[in-house]
Structures are given as C-alpha cells and as structure tokens.
C-alpha cells in the first residue's frame, strides 16, 4: 500500500525532460487538443512510456501464450537433474526439485498477471463506487465512508492481507488464486477511492455539470455521463500503479505461505523455495526475482509515465 501512496503522493517527479511549449509548432497551430490527445502527444515522446509498454506487452504475451517462449513442461521435474546448470535445453538450469527454472519462470507470469489484473479490477470497481458516491453526495455519506476508509487504512496492508488470506484459504484443495485475488481486491481500493473522490469533487462544481443539472439531468446521468468521463483519468493511473503493487503483494503473500500454494506456479513460491539453497544454486532464486522485479517495475513505470502525461500540474 505504501508503494502506491508513495508514487501518487510524492509530487513533482516528472522523469521526462521539461518541455515547455506544448502547442507550439507542429503545423496545426490553432487546433485545440483534448486532454487525451495532449497526453498522447506527450507520451509518444516519452522513452520510459515506450520501454515500459513493450515490457508489459512481452509479459502479457508470456502470461497468455507461455508455449511461445518455452516448449518445456514446468511441472515435469526429475530429481536426478537437481541443481543441474544451465544448458541449451534449460536456459536457467534446474532447481532443487529438478524442474526447469526457465519454464517455471515463464509459466509463473500467468498467475501473477491473473491475480494482479482481477484484483485490480475488483479494487477499481469498489473504489469507483465509493469514490463516486462520496464525492458526489458529500455530507453524511462522505463522512461515513471516509471513516470506513480510515478504519481500513488503520490496518497495515500486509498484516491485513495475511489475516484475510488465511481466512479465505480454508479449502485445502484450492491453489489459493481466488483467495489471494479477493484479499488484494478488498484491501487495495482505498487509495483509488480517495483519488476518485477528490477528482469528482473538483468535477462536480464545474459549469457544465450545473448546466446539465439545469437541463434536468438526474444524479445517475450526471455522475455517469458528465462527471465520470472528466474525472476518471487520475483514477485509471492509480489503478495501473496498483496493478504493479498487487503483483508484488501476490508474490509476497505466496512467499510467506498464505498466497498461492499446492502445485500453483508462482514467482513468490519459487523465491521462497530457492532461498534456502541459494548458496549452492543461485539461479532458481535469481531468475524469478528478476522477472518479478521487471514486471512490477514495468507497470509502475507505465503508470508513472501516464500520470505525468495526464497531470499537467506536475510538469
């Protein structure tokens, strides 16, 4: 949780070069650009954006079509090749159980992405509903829901996640994907809701909202057609960063033994298993770590770049 707060609240870090004249030149002098078009023009020139998008695409491909990257079966483990070194057939060597580290690492992407994406969507849905309603209605709805958010933030993220994940993971048969997803989804929405709330409060006092209200639009129409499209950008950025931290949290929970379990393939489990034997065989520890770090970094960099592009105040 602190990661997201850090990235979103620490103001001012625009990693791209400061480019002052946004609208100058480019042939179309007088044509006004929308925020999205302006942001896109800004993103196109941002190297970090391109690097992180390419990384994200590769990782998504790994999650969707692991067979493109490896033909080995990650579950085919032969003890006789325990800790065997890297070779042409197994790029990263074999781990303690004699499983192909490269294949396991590639297949690990799927669970990470799946848990991360679904948990983020769940958080996004809760955050959207809470943020919209608190921001729009204000008054006691706002007071009650804000207190509720305070209560959830009163429990440090990982501690809450441990308790919750243990609670959900009662079924010994399951591999824990659902439990971890729900846990992260339930705990992660607070920052998104707060961001949504503040941008809704800004948007609802605009003239066009007053105009729409005078034309007879009801609260539902006002919220969904007028306020939402104009206040959703920062919210989506927070969700992108949340996706990165959710992937990291999944690995942390799996590492501690309350996340994915059983025969599920997860970078967190691989790191936990390889840690004990790192002295003799560092590769099974290093590669899942590198893949996990790059994945998280890619999503957070992407969110950072998009945030910089959409928030002109930070330039």
């Amino acid at each position: 949780m602190s990661d997201i707060n850090a990235v979103t609240s620490a103001a001012g870090p625009s990693t791209q070069p400061q480019t002052e004249p946004k609208h100058a030149g480019r042939g179309k002098k007088d044509k006004p650009r929308s925020l999205a078009a302006d942001a896109w023009a800004d993103l196109r020139r941002n190297k970090i954006f391109w690097v992180s998008s390419i990384l994200v695409l590769i990782i998504l491909a790994m999650a969707l079509f692991p067979t493109l990257f490896t033909s080995a079966d990650p579950r085919e483990c032969v003890l006789s090749r325990q800790h065997a070194g890297a070779s042409g057939s197994a790029l990263f060597g074999y781990d303690f159980q004699g499983c192909d580290v490269y294949a396991k690492t590639i297949y690990g992407a799927r669970n990470s992405i799946e848990v991360g994406v679904v948990a983020t969507l769940l958080s996004g849905l809760i955050g959207l509903i809470f943020g919209l309603s608190t921001g729009y209605f204000g008054g006691w709805v706002d007071a009650v829901l804000s207190r509720f958010i305070d209560i959830i933030l009163g429990v440090p993220f990982l501690l809450g996640a441990i308790v919750l994940a243990k609670r959900f993971a009662q079924d010994p048969e399951s591999n824990g994907v659902l439990a971890v997803t729900v846990t992260l989804g339930i705990l992660g929405w607070t920052t998104a809701a707060r961001i949504m709330r503040s941008s809704v409060i800004t948007a609802k006092n605009q003239d066009y909202v007053a105009a729409a209200r005078m034309l007879g639009a009801g609260p539902g129409r006002l919220m969904l057609k007028h306020i939402l499209p104009n206040s959703i950008a920062p919210f989506i950025v927070v969700l992108t960063i949340l996706l990165g931290t959710n992937i990291a949290s999944e690995a942390t929970l799996s590492f501690l033994g309350v996340g994915l379990k059983g025969d599920a393939i997860s970078w967190g489990i691989s790191i936990a298993e390889a840690g004990a034997n790192a002295r003799t065989a560092p590769e099974p520890l290093v590669w899942p770590s590198v893949f996990l770090a790059v994945t998280v970094l890619a999503f957070i960099m992407l969110g950072d770049a998009v945030r910089d592009a959409f928030d002109p105040k930070l330039r």
């Binding site: 949780m1 440090p156 308790v163 790191i271 840690g275 790192a278 770590s289």
Partner: protein, 308 residues
C-alpha cells in the same frame, strides 16, 4: 489546538475499534468448528466440548465475543500460541531486536533521503536529480521479496561483505544489511518528498527575504529551507511504520533475525492461528498509536496548520 487533539483522539478511538473489529471478525467469525480444529483428528466428548465452548465463550453471541477479545487486548492479554507460550511473552523477547532493526533502517533511510533530497531539490533538472529520480523509481518498484534475497545472495553469500544471517545477540554490524534492505522501503518516498518540499520552499518569500538580508547560502538552505522542508518528511514516519512492519516480516524471515516479523512469519508457516492474530493485533495497535502521535506532532511542528 486542544480541540484538534480531542477530535483526533475521538477519531482514533473509532478507528481503533473499527480496525480491531475487522481483524477479529476476519479471524474468528464463522469458523467451521474451532473445537474440532483444536483437537485435530481425535474425537471429542460432549462434555469436553461443552467445557471448551464455555471457556472460550464460543456459546456467546458474536458481539459479546468481540467484547472479550477487546478486554484481552486492553488488559495486555493477547492469548496463547499453539505452542503454549503466551503471545505477550513472545512479543517481549522479540521486540528489542526488531526495534533496533527498525531504528537503524529509519536512521539510514532518513540520512540518505534528506541529503540526496536536498541536493536534488536545489539542483532540479541536473544529472544528479534525474539519476536520483530514476533510482527512486526502481527502488519503489522492487518488491521486498526480491530485494531481500538478492541482497543476501550478492552481498552476504557471494561478495561476503556482510554476514548473511543474524542471531539472537546480533550486533549492529550483523543487522546492517537487513536494515539497509528494510530502509530501502521508505527511502524513495522520503527522498521525493524532501526534494519537492525543498524545491517549493526555495521559491517562497521567506527565502527571498533571508537572501535579501545577506545571509549566506549555507545558512539559508541549512536553517531556513531545511527546517521547513522536514515537516512533511516527519509526517511520513506514520505511514512508514506500516511499511516497515510489513517489510520486517519478509526481511527478518530471510535474514533469520529473531524479531517480531520472524515470529509472525514462522507462525504463518506453522499454521499457528492464535499467534498470527495476537501479533497482528499488537502491531495494529502500535501502528494506530504511532500515527496518532505523528499527527499531533505535525500540528505542533507546523504553525501554519490550525485545526478547528
């Protein structure tokens, strides 16, 4: 100020009950059959079941059970772990080393973050500034489950610069590598906040006044700017404590530091439910108290903040 303190205390009471209620409800509510879980495979006589139900208040309504749990928390009774040791005793033997580790992490992180933050705040857009921004982004993105084992592998096992694991009587030197890893959790945020605070304060009127008075650059930055820039950094401590607690669970487990996080991680591994809940409850209380103190400190430090 007084009204603010009172209001903040009332808020804290609400948050306290809410947070503990959440933890309680999540762990104890709607359990399948805790008595059978306690007995394991063995059959249980009706008599024994009755006695246990009464002893653990399982026959009472949910809210009454919560009341007993709260009474335990407030009187320092956090329950007993499955191994038979009292949670509070385990906590007592575990916390000194965790406090030591946490303090080292905070001091290291704050020193580096404030120094680097001030420099990059003064020289915005310089190579140093851009480099720190990239480095902080990377540090922010590195999950502790990656950072801790890799640091142990590279600096502890392969380069042998630091001892790879710590013991019960760990010296400061033994704890340095885990503290560095733990500190990296908070260093990036602190650095970025310092940087933007310094950059903002440099443009403020009082700095221009100080310069106009003919004060040296050193004094303007070292006294005037720094003092005002550190206020937001101080408030980060509250948030940081939560991050450090989470980080300590992983870090202590990897470096074998026998502290609070290590016990908690072991409790998770051995399926010791009461231990996990007891430790989490204590940590949540500490977290809430620290956050309250930081908020009060913030109000005291920053005269611009007047809460009504």
């Amino acid at each position: 100020m007084f009204r603010y303190i009172v209001r903040r205390l009332l808020q804290m009471v609400l948050t306290f009950f809410g947070a503990t209620f959440l933890v309680f409800a999540l762990t104890f509510a709607n359990q399948d059959d805790p008595i059978q879980a306690l007995a394991g495979e063995r059959p249980i006589t009706e008599n024994l079941r009755q006695t246990l139900m009464e002893r653990y208040h399982l026959d009472e309504p949910f809210l009454v059970q919560y009341w007993y749990y709260m009474k335990g928390l407030l009187t320092g009774d956090f329950g007993t772990s499955l191994t038979g040791r009292k949670i509070i005793d385990m906590m007592e033997s575990a916390w000194p080393i965790t406090i030591k580790l946490g303090l080292m992490a905070i001091i290291i992180a704050a020193t580096i973050a404030v120094t680097a933050g001030v420099i990059s705040g003064i020289r915005r857009g310089s190579i140093f500034d851009n480099a720190t921004l990239v480095v902080t982004l990377i540090i922010l993105s590195l999950p502790i489950v990656v950072l801790a084992p890799l640091a142990q592998l590279v600096f502890g096992i392969q380069l042998k610069w630091f001892p790879p694991t710590a013991t019960v009587n760990a010296s400061l030197w033994d704890l340095l590598l885990p503290a560095l890893v733990l500190g990296s959790l908070v260093i990036a945020t602190e650095l970025r906040v310092t940087r933007s605070a310094v950059a903002e304060n440099l443009r403020s009127d009082y700095v221009r006044t100080a310069r106009a008075k003919g004060l040296s650059r050193k004094r303007v930055i070292g006294v005037h700017v720094l003092r005002n820039s550190l206020i937001p950094v101080v408030t980060l401590i509250g948030v940081d404590i939560g991050g450090l607690m989470s980080g300590a669970i992983v870090t202590e487990r990897i470096f074998n530091v026998p502290g609070v996080g290590f016990n908690l991680a072991r409790g998770i591994g051995t399926e010791d439910g009461p231990l996990v809940v007891g430790f989490v409850s204590i940590l949540v209380i500490i977290f809430l108290v620290v956050n309250l103190l930081v908020d009060l400190l913030y109000a005291a430090l920053d005269p611009r903040i007047r809460y009504e």
